[in-house]
């Protein structure tokens, strides 16, 4: 098991209940600049701590536009609740200088926020 943190990490927090959002499905996509289509890079599920290690390797984390899609609607449904947002997609740009990028999601049934961490 690799102990070095990957170059791209996320952390999903359920701010409605004040807990990590465990077992939320998510996917990482990279924009192909030539064809302007999104290519799927990884599919994952958050662990008990709301994290999803191993999203991408350093070698594969080339500069460009990326998107993380969080299946928030499915998550709230599994908790027996509705939500305003069927899913959340965060689109962000990675430059050559970016060594370590953290894209967390703080989500409730009726709000969400994100920021660029490290």
């Amino acid at each position: 098991m690799c102990s070095v943190k990957g170059p791209l990490t996320t952390h999903v927090l359920n701010t409605g209940d004040g807990v990590p959002a465990a077992r939320m499905a998510l996917s990482l996509h990279r924009l192909d600049p030539h064809m302007t289509v999104w290519s799927l890079v990884t599919i994952g599920t958050t662990n008990e701590d709301g994290r999803c290690p191993g999203l991408i390797t350093s070698d594969a984390f080339t500069p460009g536009m990326y998107k993380i899609r969080f299946e928030t609607g499915q998550y709230w449904e599994s908790l027996g609740q509705s939500s305003f947002y069927p899913y959340v997609e965060i689109v962000f740009t990675v430059s050559a200088a970016d060594q370590s990028v953290h894209v967390p999601l703080l989500v409730s049934r009726y709000s969400y926020s994100t920021y660029r961490g490290s």
Partner: protein, 138 residues
């Protein structure tokens, strides 16, 4: 008053009511706030889409630009506002570019479900170069 004048009076009245209907506020509103500079997010292009549930294609409904207060009135007419999945796209990258700055997010798309179109919905965007948040308001 002759019959023609009487009828014309009715037509003028209807026009007045139609104008009133045209200025009814949109049941869907937004507000962009630039919290990095503590100002409204003015002159940002925003686009509203509605998902076609059969073809899963996003249909463009409205293109607008936020005013000096960061708002964009008239996003959708009350009679066009049906239940469904909508998407508001905010051209955040272009916004910061016009201010001579970079932004981590080239654009922001907020996808939301309208179950009861008789209600009012407020979908704001609170934004900096490296963060954003949104919530369901009224």
């Amino acid at each position: 008053m002759n019959r023609l004048q009487h009828i014309r009076g009715h037509i003028v009245l209807t026009d007045k009511y139609m104008n009133m209907a045209a200025t009814l506020p949109s049941p869907l509103t937004t507000h962009v706030l630039n919290i990095a500079q503590g100002v409204p997010g003015a002159n940002m292009t925003i686009i509203l889409y509605l998902l076609d549930p059969i073809s899963s294609v996003w249909n463009l409904l409205t293109t607008g630009i936020t005013n000096d207060d960061g708002r964009c009135p008239g996003l959708i007419k009350k009679e066009s506002f049906i239940a469904g999945v909508y998407k508001l796209r905010f051209e955040t990258g272009k916004y910061w570019d016009a201010l001579g700055e970079t932004c981590f997010y080239p654009y922001v798309e907020v996808v939301f479900t309208i179950t009861d179109p008789s209600q009012k919905y407020h979908v704001p965007l609170i934004l900096s170069r490296f963060s954003y948040s949104t919530y369901r308001g009224s």
